[in-house]
Amino acid sequence: MSDEREGRDIFDVIEEMDKRMRRIMERAFAGISMDVDEQLYDMERKELKPLTQISETDEEVIVTLDIPCASKESIELKATEDTLFIRARMDRCVTFSNVEFENYSKSVRLPARVEPKHARASFRNGVLQVRLPKKFEGNEIKIE
């Protein structure tokens, strides 16, 4: 330890090192999402969280999920007005960090309220796309 640090509380030194490391990481990873909601794994439940892309048109919300190794028959899809839930089984086990994963599972919060009963889904080459029509929630305005 340098002379400069002599006489200082060890916790001050650790705190300073921690701050320096955080500054380095913030500079290096500016823009990278560290949101826990964006985790790709649920180690406890042994489930993978699919990579997801959400887009919107005037009429619909489109959710696209990457679920390689899943079969069409194993996909369970449910939707409410504001959430899409997907669960799918993989045709093989995948091991990361000594944990075996067999399923995909994810709840996707939708950016607009939708009509779940009119949702449509397609599945091709391990990519699932769900199109959910937006719920119309306005009052008609008369033009005088």
């Binding site: 990873f29 823009g31 892309q53 390689p68 190794c69």
Partner: protein, 255 residues
């Protein structure tokens, strides 16, 4: 391993070579994390398929303090490989942050210049909204001169006629152009933020024909789904980098 050569030793970023072996006019292939990880997947597969050996890495204080562990061995995230004959490959297993792109491109292009390459080949993706419905993604190219364009005519690749290139590949292309290095850049239609090994297959198929090389693509086809799962983490990090404000500012993609 002994470090026999360090390029730009005064720079904040440098290429470190493990031995001094020189090759005659090599092809240099670049696969960096970008749209659909098309280049990363293609060049990683090429390294395994041709059984290339690691010949160096890129290091810098500007990079985050990351080392990878592969089969118990510590690896730098940005590495150089060679087949010992006429092929060099550059891959990165971390997205290159926009703030370091310029320095990265300059250091790499300086090193390329010293290698006297026959051609520097960049492989990347070009996002298309209806990728889900495309069975055979198209490959577009930009060639630095007429001779390379003539090689491409034996393939089904199309000229990239109009559009905008940004990010790591644009920086490298600019740095190579200013050093008079011949370049070929391939853009394959792909998913934006899902790993797309099928796009990588199309790019490698074009290179097989154009350069008269023989990368066996069967294993990549068979392993494509597992590769998609194994590269999710890198795709997620890359997606965040692609969403950086300075990159987002570019108005459109081509395709």
């Amino acid at each position: 391993m002994a470090l026999l050569a360090e390029d730009r030793s005064d720079a904040s970023m440098k290429v470190v070579e493990y031995d001094g072996s020189k090759m005659e006019s090599p092809y240099i292939f670049i696969g960096l994390p970008d749209v659909g990880l098309v280049g990363s997947i293609a060049v990683s597969y090429m390294i395994d398929s041709v059984k290339m050996v690691e010949i160096g890495h890129v290091e810098s204080d500007l990079f985050p303090p990351i080392l990878l562990v592969r089969n118990g061995e510590v690896k730098n995230p940005i590495r150089l490989y060679s087949d010992g004959s006429n092929m060099i490959a550059l891959i990165s297993e971390m997205p290159i942050h926009p703030s370091t792109l310029q320095e990265f491109a300059t250091s790499i292009a300086d090193w390329f210049k010293r290698m006297r390459p026959r051609l520097v080949i960049s492989i990347t993706g070009i996002p298309v909204q209806n990728r889900l419905n495309i069975d055979k993604p198209k490959v577009f190219y930009i060639a630095s001169d007429e001779h390379i364009s003539s090689l491409m005519r034996s393939t089904q690749a199309l000229v990239f006629e109009e559009g905008i290139i940004f990010g790591a590949y644009a920086a490298i292309l600019k740095a190579c152009m200013s050093r008079d290095i011949s370049t070929l850049t391939l853009f394959t239609q792909s998913h934006l933020n899902f790993p797309d090994p099928f796009a990588s297959i199309e790019a490698l198929d074009v290179l097989n024909k154009a350069l008269n090389i023989s990368i066996d693509l069967n294993e990549l086809r068979e392993e494509a789904e597992m590769i998609r799962i194994k590269t999710r983490e890198l795709m997620k990090q890359t997606e965040s980098m692609l969403a950086e404000p300075r990159l987002k500012a570019s108005p459109t993609f081509y395709g």
